[in-house]
Amino acid sequence: MPRVRVVGISKRYGRVTALDRVSLELEDREYLSILGPSGCGKTTLIKCIAGIIQPDEGRVYVDDRDLTGVPIQERGVGYVFQEVALFPHMSVADNISYGPRVKGWSPERAERMAKEMLSMVRLEDRGGAYSRELSGGAQQEVAVVRAFASGSSLLLLDEPLGALDAKVRAKLRYELRQLVTDLGLTAMHVTHDQEEALSISDRVVVMKAGRIVEVGTPMQLYLEPKRIFTANFVGEANFLRARIVRGGEEAILDVDGLELHCRNPFSVETERVVAAIRPEFISLEERGSSGPNVWLGRIESQVFAGSVVRYQVRLTNGLALTVKRPLVSEEPELSVGEKVALFLPVEHILIYPFPEGGLDQEIALE
């Protein structure tokens, strides 16, 4: 039985559609990320579930209970805000015991609960501190246990790591995930950072312009994205405009004069297509190589990016491809201007029907 069911939620603000008939389900103990660019409606969605915003259409069910018309305080759904929202006039311990206290618990019982929660996040001796004295990461963890202490086993997180430095964010996301698992919570985590979503979620929902684009496990979305937007938003991809020369399961495409063999997992039939391949799946070969899916080109630029090197390769037909290679590899050393051969493995090429609104519109990030 899914813990949360969202059925056909829509929300409009004047002429802007924030949510357009969105439906999804969340299973017990699942960690689901809602991923998308700013303005895609992801925050509006969880606010509808929490009751902070009322949808124009559709229903929200939590544990099979229809929450239409139920005020925020009666929904039993915990919420962690992007700006943390720890009460500035209360100590950290009082923040945590707030939920129990407003439910009528005796102060002693509430304080005991607060102590337990503080030790879960290793802040036992900081109970008397105020939120401004803690680091951003610690504040967020307190916000999580505060929600849990109030009795919710369902947690909604609104860009919880958004305000933190890149390095802290990368470290804290694993701790956050661990905390949620340890507490046995079911969670929905909103973010615009695809690496964050992929690294800690059981499933990911990709949204754009108020609609769900695709849902899948991190691996599915990365290795076999069903939509062009997903291919571009989750990780990076090279997109090539092509024509199908021979259709079927083992297709042959014409990419501006170059031939490309690929599989056709989504059974695309249209003549005009878009072929996509991720930069790290392309390998650079010796100049003399040849064969199907071996394309010749010249290295236009080379950028050191830490653990990988990014190459821009200009092909013989004028198109450019981005290739990513680990810094240390068995493959030969290369330099700008050098002629290379690129190999595009059949199993990593995805094809999609050419989008109606044009390719640039489809992959646009804003």
Binding site: Q73, G76, F81, A85, M90, Y98, K103, G151
Partner: protein, 550 residues
């Protein structure tokens, strides 16, 4: 970087060049600070000290002493009581204005400003008319008067005119309040009432203290209307007024002296204690507070708030409309416009009030702007800025009549400054705080990054001020100016203290109501209403401007 023709006059270029020199800027700031200290701050505080030799007169006469002490104590008692009541009644109204979604919100919002808009003499006259005359509420009960002039009437009057102070400050605070905290409390299971009590109000404590202090200051300071409704009762300002009428300088000095320093002390104490008061937030009563949050509870609360608002604030304040409108038709208007009889001096007084108002406004803008910048940008040390901040409040903390007394002593002692100029100075002093506060709040809102970026792009300080700071703060500048102007028109206490021959309009009107001149009720009503008219127009313009911005 010079290329092509410049678009600006050479004068402007020269000024901009000057503004880039730190020394020039320092001189401008120093001059405005000097103006503040020497012309605004010193006279009211020092003047009274010149007359400490007269204090003995009061000690000699025990009955006079008793009367003086009683007047002083009552001033503070009334101010405290009224401020607490205003806080209690005004906060739910502010809540309603900010949170309610009904169509009436804008109407209520504008109405709540009425006691601010109307000159206090009009308020006093209207209140007295409403509660104490056979033409007022008493008519419903077939009585001559419901509440006669005295302590009770003063309380009702002060409650009404300090009310908008609380509502304005609380509305501003609620609008600026981060609603996320309350929502967070609700996600944790708190009922709306509990969330408000345990989260919102503690966080808004600074605003609560600020609105209390503002109401307190207004009650302590008000003279004109209080004199109209005091009857034989005396609080501080009334006592001083009576002493001036009787020509008793000693008691005048004594009470002024005590009022000045006691009010500063009271202010400092409340400002210190207020933020440290602990509001009980530990316990919650879920079932009870749930009921209070429910629809019935909210409706009950709103109804009571509205009843109090209309019965005790709006109606007594607007009651003057009745006799005023009848005065339009019964021939009084014609007499007024012809300038005959008492109306000759009336129009002279009105002209005087307006002239003073305009001059005071212009002076305050010129002298106050640099000080506002100093406060907003905190360029000086933390301690210096805090001190300046406190000192800027002095003109509104000290009761204006006592301020006027002290001021007139100061200037008579330092050579014969014509009465007109002493009037200008006293009006400028009293209204100084309004402009500086409004401007500094607005400038604080402008992110310093805006100005930094503008300078980094190549603009000199004057250009930054002209093209960035002023346009973004223009609403505040305008509001501040209008506030100064209307407050100046409204001022009774200091004007009364300073005036010998010249009478400003409010002073004249107080005489009309209290004095022995042959003025009919109809004429009184019209005189007061005409003065109120301009203030009304000015503040309506103000509302339109600020509404446009919002």
């Amino acid at each position: 970087m010079k290329s092509g023709e410049t678009t600006r006059t050479s004068l402007l270029v020269r000024l901009e060049g000057l503004s880039a020199q730190p020394r020039v800027r320092a001189v401008v700031y120093a001059a405005s600070l000097a103006f503040f200290v020497i012309l605004v701050l010193a006279p009211p505080l020092l003047g009274i000290l010149l007359k400490t030799d007269r204090l003995g007169e009061v000690y000699a006469d025990p009955r006079l002493m008793e009367r003086a002490q009683s007047a002083i104590t009552w001033s503070f008692a009334i101010a405290l009581l009224v401020s607490a009541l205003d806080l209690l009644a005004g906060t739910p109204l502010a809540w309603f204005i900010v949170r309610s979604k009904t169509r009436w919100v804008n109407v209520i919002d504008t109405l709540a400003d009425i006691p601010f808009i109307i000159p206090t003499v009009a308020l006093g006259f209207s209140t007295r008319l409403f509660w104490s005359t056979p033409d007022g509420l008493a008519a419903l009960f077939g009585l001559n008067s419901l509440i006669s002039p005295g302590l009770m009437l003063i309380l009702l009057l002060h409650f009404a005119f300090s009310f908008p102070a609380v509502v304005r400050v609380m509305v501003g605070a609620l609008l600026g309040y981060e609603a996320t905290y309350e929502v967070a409390a609700k996600t944790l299971g708190a009922q709306p009432f509990t969330a408000t009590r345990t989260v919102t109000f503690p966080i808004l404590r600074p605003a609560i203290v600020a609105s209390f202090l503002l109401a307190f200051a207004r009650s302590l300071s008000e003279t004109g209307a209080t004199v109209m409704v005091a009857g034989t009762f005396e609080n501080g300002p009334v006592f001083i007024n009576n002493a001036k009428n009787a020509g008793l300088e000693g008691p005048l000095v004594f009470v002024s002296f005590v009022l000045i320093f006691a009010s500063l002390l009271a202010f400092a104490s409340i400002s210190f204690i207020g933020p440290r008061l602990k509001i009980p937030v530990r316990r919650a009563w879920p079932t009870g507070e749930r009921a209070l949050s429910g629809r019935a509870g909210v409706t009950f609360r709103d109804s009571v708030t509205m009843i109090v608002f209309f019965a005790f604030v709006i109606t007594p304040s607007l009651f003057i409309a009745f006799p005023a409108t009848s005065a339009l038709t019964d021939g009084t208007l014609g007499k007024a416009l012809s300038g005959s009889g008492v109306w000759g001096p009336y129009w002279q007084s009105v002209l005087l009030s307006y002239t003073i108002g305009v001059i005071a406004t212009l002076v305050n803008i010129a002298a106050g702007l640099p000080v506002a910048v100093l406060l907003a940008r905190k360029r000086a040390s933390k301690a210096a800025t805090a001190l300046l901040d406190a000192l800027v409040n002095v003109p509104i903390v000290v009761p204006s009549i006592a301020l006027g007394v002290s001021l007139s002593f100061f200037w008579t002692a330092f050579g014969a400054l014509p009465e007109f100029w002493v009037l200008i100075l006293s009006h400028t002093t009293i209204t100084y705080t309004y402009f500086v506060r409004a401007m500094s709040a607005a400038i604080e809102e402008i992110s310093p990054e805006m100005e930094d970026t503008a300078r980094s792009l190549g603009a000199r300080p004057l250009t930054v001020f002209r093209k960035i700071t002023l346009p973004l703060a223009k609403y505040a500048a305008l509001s501040g100016a209008i506030l100064v102007f209307t407050r100046s028109i409204d001022e009774t206490g200091a004007a009364r203290a300073v005036s010998r021959e010249l009478k400003t309009a409010p002073v004249l009107l107080v005489e009309w109501v209290r004095g022995t001149l042959p003025v009919s009720n109809s004429e009184r009503a019209l005189g007061v209403a005409l003065l109120a008219l301009t203030s009304f127009i000015a503040l309506l313009v103000l509302r339109l401007i600020t509404r446009e911005k919002r």
